[in-house]
Amino acid sequence: MTAAGNPAVSTTAGRPFVGGRRLPLGWVGAVPFFAYVAVFLLLPTGIIAVGAFLAEDGSATLSNFSSLSQSNIVKASVNTVFLSAVTAVVGASLGALVAYAVATGNPDGILRRLVVSASGVLAQFGGVTLAFAFLATIGPAGLVYLFVKQHGVDFYANGYWIYDLRGLQLVYLYFQIPLMVLVFLPAVDGIKPQWREAAESLGGSTWHYWRYVAGPLLFPAFIGCTLLLFANAFSAYATANALINQGAPVLSQQINNALSSEVGLHKPGLANAIAIEMIVIVVLATVLYSLLQRRSSRWLQ
């Protein structure tokens, strides 16, 4: 509401009366923000939404969506879903273990603060730098690979898997695990020691406690966080592009193909359609994550 009646916060000039009420000029202050966001956030989104239904000549069409069933797009979609699912599940499981290891320690200790800060840094450490870090580690000229090879084991004997989806799975774990630690730790913190002791005094063993108390309590958060990791991996582009130069096995790389004229023809309509496909999946996963988080925090916070 305007501060019309408040003498302490008055505007510098009188404001015009219109039919007995002062015009709400307070809205003016929000204009720059909304204008900027309209141009640089909503407009591109609109372009995608509309462009997906436009053909090369500008006529309305659904052909872009039918192009989604092209074999290379379908393959990329399947690859990306598989890649995201695997790294989500593995990352979530390993991350949950690390979160549990941290949560059961001293809540004010150095170890905990170190792990949380490190997770913050590592989770956003992705893209080119990460890909190159892994190449420097287990790439053909990498430290670990050469070291292990010197001792007789050549893990590229059957092909250089670091450069395809298998390598990507390993590399993705590098930011998936820390992300899981960050988003799952609050849930683990929410497990009260009284529940364990109550379960024990009522005759429950460790297994019973996990099966009937801690497990069910942590389950929604675990699934939710796994979905978040899925969305995270699904949206990734830089890491994949830096590591995989042959073909475009990941869906985000297909967008890149359709967009820039490096490979094949420039197909903006297709790029829009793939973008919509991606957004639908990511938004779905994120919404489910929010719902599960809400359930979890009702119990654990």
Partner: protein, 361 residues
């Protein structure tokens, strides 16, 4: 509180229990026997070891020395889940993802009771604590007092041999606290179960216990019925912790202590003569506004604190503050500012001497 006609339950013995945390000794040889069906309250300030003792009986912690014997069985080496004890925690112990009856039935589930049977018994136990109508509510939908009643039902549903309560009322509002404490006592008497109740609130302990054990620094200072602990405190710590105490300077002479011209008998008369501090209860002090207003027992009323049925009057006695407690109606005679003369009822008192520790054990 009257005692139940029938007493079931088993005897629980704590024998010379010891517990150390690094350099800190939490329990230093605690020995205590709870009779069958008895409710013993362990009372003391934070850090006195009362909660540690309870947790040792529960099996949630391990003793460094001594034994716990329940119903004739030495359970010292048993983990908590094999001891068949029922425990009520201070707060937050209900499982949030289960409704009330599922919480109560949990112990039965651990004992492999079928779902129909355990639901029936859970509802029965909820009926006992008066919450059968809330059986399908989650913990977040229940008030603090209701949650604790469900916790009590949950502990009792497994028909344990001993009931352990760890400051179950401390997290609740004052009004709820007094109602729930009576409720707990009623249930305990009805079931007749041996109970150990830990608290730092002396009013609670005195109100519901059969016997009260006052603890300090890992040791039991006094164990006895509430009336005894209150009116015949064995040590100055007990006198201080349980109820209020006035400390008045005096002199021991001929197996009595003389305080400001008044001679009072001693709880422990066999002490040498000499200066000492007498510990006098506020209820033993009465105030008069008539008669000779002169002498060492004359002072001025500083404040009157209204406590409901009784009131507490603070009197300035030549620089020393003395508390007197009396029915509220009497305080009308001497509001703040009035000159009053004190009389001390000739109850036996404890004394304390500066150099050594107190006379009286």
């Amino acid at each position: 509180m009257e005692k139940a006609a029938t007493r079931q339950g088993v005897e629980v013995r704590l024998e010379n229990l010891q517990r150390r945390y690094g350099a800190v000794t939490a329990l230093d040889g605690l020995s205590l026997t709870l009779g069958a069906g008895e409710l013993v309250a362990l009372l003391g300030p934070s850090g006195c070891g009362k909660t540690t003792a309870l947790r040792l009986v529960a099996g949630l912690e391990e003793a460094d020395g001594g034994r716990v014997v329940i119903g004739g069985n030495d359970v010292t080496g048993l983990p908590a889940n094999k001891r068949n004890v029922g425990m009520v925690f201070q707060a937050y112990s209900l499982f949030p993802h289960m409704v009330a009856w599922e919480n109560v039935a949990f112990g039965l589930q651990m004992r492999k009771v079928g779902v129909e049977e355990r639901k029936r018994r859970a509802l029965e136990t909820l009926e006992l604590v008066g919450l059968a109508s809330m059986a399908n509510r989650y913990a977040t939908q229940l008030s603090g007092g209701q949650q604790q009643r469900v916790a009590l039902a949950r502990a009792l549903a497994i028909r344990p041999q001993v009931l352990l309560l760890d400051e179950p009322l401390s997290a609740l509002d004052a009004k709820v606290r007094s109602r729930l404490r009576d409720e707990i006592r009623r249930v305990q008497l009805e079931v007749g179960i041996t109970t150990l109740f830990v608290t730092h609130d002396q009013e609670e302990a005195l109100a519901i216990a059969d016997r009260v054990g006052v603890m300090q620094s890992g040791q039991l200072e006094q164990l006895g019925p509430p009336t005894t602990v209150y009116s015949r405190p064995a040590t100055p710590f007990v006198a201080d912790f349980v109820g209020l105490t006035n400390r008045l300077a005096g002199t021991v002479k001929n197996r009595e202590v003389e305080v400001r011209g008044v001679r009072l008998p001693l709880v422990q008369p066999d002490v040498p003569d000499g200066p000492a501090t007498a510990l006098v209860r506020p209820e033993a002090v009465s105030l008069a506004t008539d008669g000779v207003m002169d002498g060492p027992l004359v002072g001025t009323v500083i404040a009157v604190a209204f406590l409901g049925a009784t009131s507490r009057v603070t009197v300035d006695l030549g620089g020393v503050t003395v508390l007197a407690q009396m029915p509220t109606a009497q305080t009308a005679e001497h509001p703040a500012g009035t000159k009053v003369r004190l009389t001390l009822r000739p109850d036996p008192v404890l004394i304390q001497r500066e150099e050594t520790n107190p006379a009286g054990s």
